[in-house]
Symmetry: C2
Subunit: 237 residues, 2 copies
DNA sequence: CGTGTTATTGAGTAGCATCAATAATTGTGG
DNA sequence: CCACAATTATTGATGCTACTCAATAACACG
């Protein structure tokens, strides 16, 4: 099922260390993290990193590529609960009940660093700053989810898309890109599923944003022409 | 502003210990928890436990009463992000960035146990099972939020209310009540804000559920007449 | 007992969904 | 590498859900 090309490496020399798990850790702590994160795993496009119901054993840091997480309802319909880019953590949903509640799927050929949860617990037991750090990562996940609740509960289609595109832009910028031009790794349907909209509405709304001169979009190739206006739209009605 | 009637007490003798923070802890660990949770605080109806922007110092276990948490947008509109009953934890939103992102407001005269976060970190550093336990509590918060995302992203008004009422019922049952009859502590507007609906829609939908014989509701007094059908409605289209 | 808050109900409407047809793109097997 | 199938995206016409506006009623509080 899943390809298991696993490679041993470490965090302290990783070029993502300013974005990812190691953020803000001292050299000594980094050394501990290196011991913890010793395995990488490739996940090719469309492949699943874990499924809902799987036993929870590890969390994952996206080393390269993009993922989506999705929850499937009892009816079989499913909803995207998030998109994860390099440096972001996947799998925290499993901690609550020792098994995953969502699937994680690669949107392009990707690679993750595997962080065995039991060992993370061990080591953060010994190094308090690592513990604090991990708590913060979980806390940010909670904040992020609550912001999505806000979006889904009270924004209109145009606002939702403006907020979504702004968020993508900011995350790209944090990764050293311009944040002005980017390639969408997800389909319109996946965007819609995440934003609580149908694919036709996503398509129409993107067209409208383009007509209004806020963005330029051709297939997956996106340019944010007036980012300020886009952000304003997302927050001010 | 806030009344600070604080009382010293402990978890090991608390009648909520099967619902609350102590769930599943051994006597030894309970002893540690007692040391941690030594202060209670009363919050009268309408009063605020903490505000968005406040420095994060503690999390809180609801000892008695009911709270809501709400996020305020830049426009000044706000959205309810959760309702907390006895034994449930409030304030985890503060961990991510060391300050709260939501307000917590008492919906009736209430009381919380104050759990200083720094000391929680200290003690879970020493007692691994406490650390694991706390991680699980945070993990469940993430799961809960993602389920709300699902509700907001893909359910219709009737389903949302059915899911909401079912959830209230289950939580009441977990607290030793029948789960059939209960008093709503929140207004229709607060319910609507939580479910992403307007007050008129909440009112109309409750009336419809009553006409269909699923519930009986008079003001805040609610009886679930056919809980199975209600749950079925919440999950099966 | 009066005032402000909360809730209900009706009429009309806006926004998004649905249904449908077509186009563009991607992936696949020969 | 091309042809065909499957997937993804766009656009239009129509319908339905939930919102808005408005009036009234019921209740909570001082």
């Amino acid at each position: 099922m899943t390809s298991l090309a696993e490679v041993h490496l470490n965090c302290s020399t990783c070029n993502l260390k300013d974005l990812c798990m190691p953020v803000g850790l001292s050299p000594v702590e980094l050394e501990q993290l290196d011991e913890l994160v010793s395995v990488r795993r490739k996940v090719i496009k469309g492949e699943v990193l874990f499924n809902a119901g799987d036993d929870f054993s590890s969390i994952y840091a996206v080393r390269a590529g993009t993922f989506k997480t999705r929850i499937t309802t009892q009816e079989g319909t499913d909803q995207v609960t998030g998109f994860q880019m390099t440096g972001e953590i996947i799998g925290l949903d499993g901690i609550g009940n020792n098994n995953h509640i969502c699937d994680a799927v690669a949107l392009e050929d990707s690679e993750v660093c595997v962080i065995p949860y039991a060992r993370l617990d061990d080591i953060s037991q010994q190094f308090r700053s690592l513990q604090t750090h991990f708590h913060r990562i979980m806390g940010r996940e909670i904040v992020k989810d609550q912001n999505v609740m806000l979006l889904l509960g009270s924004m209109r289609a145009e606002q939702r898309l403006a907020a979504f595109l702004s968020s993508l832009s900011e995350r790209q910028r944090a990764r050293g890109f311009s944040g002005r031009e980017m390639v969408l790794r997800m389909t319109r349907e996946e965007i819609g599923s995440y934003l609580g909209l149908k694919i036709e509405t996503v398509s129409r709304t993107l067209t409208k944003l383009q007509k209004d001169g806020l963005i330029q979009i051709t297939q997956r190739q996106l340019t944010l022409l007036r980012l300020d206006d886009l952000k304003h739209l997302a927050t001010h009605l």
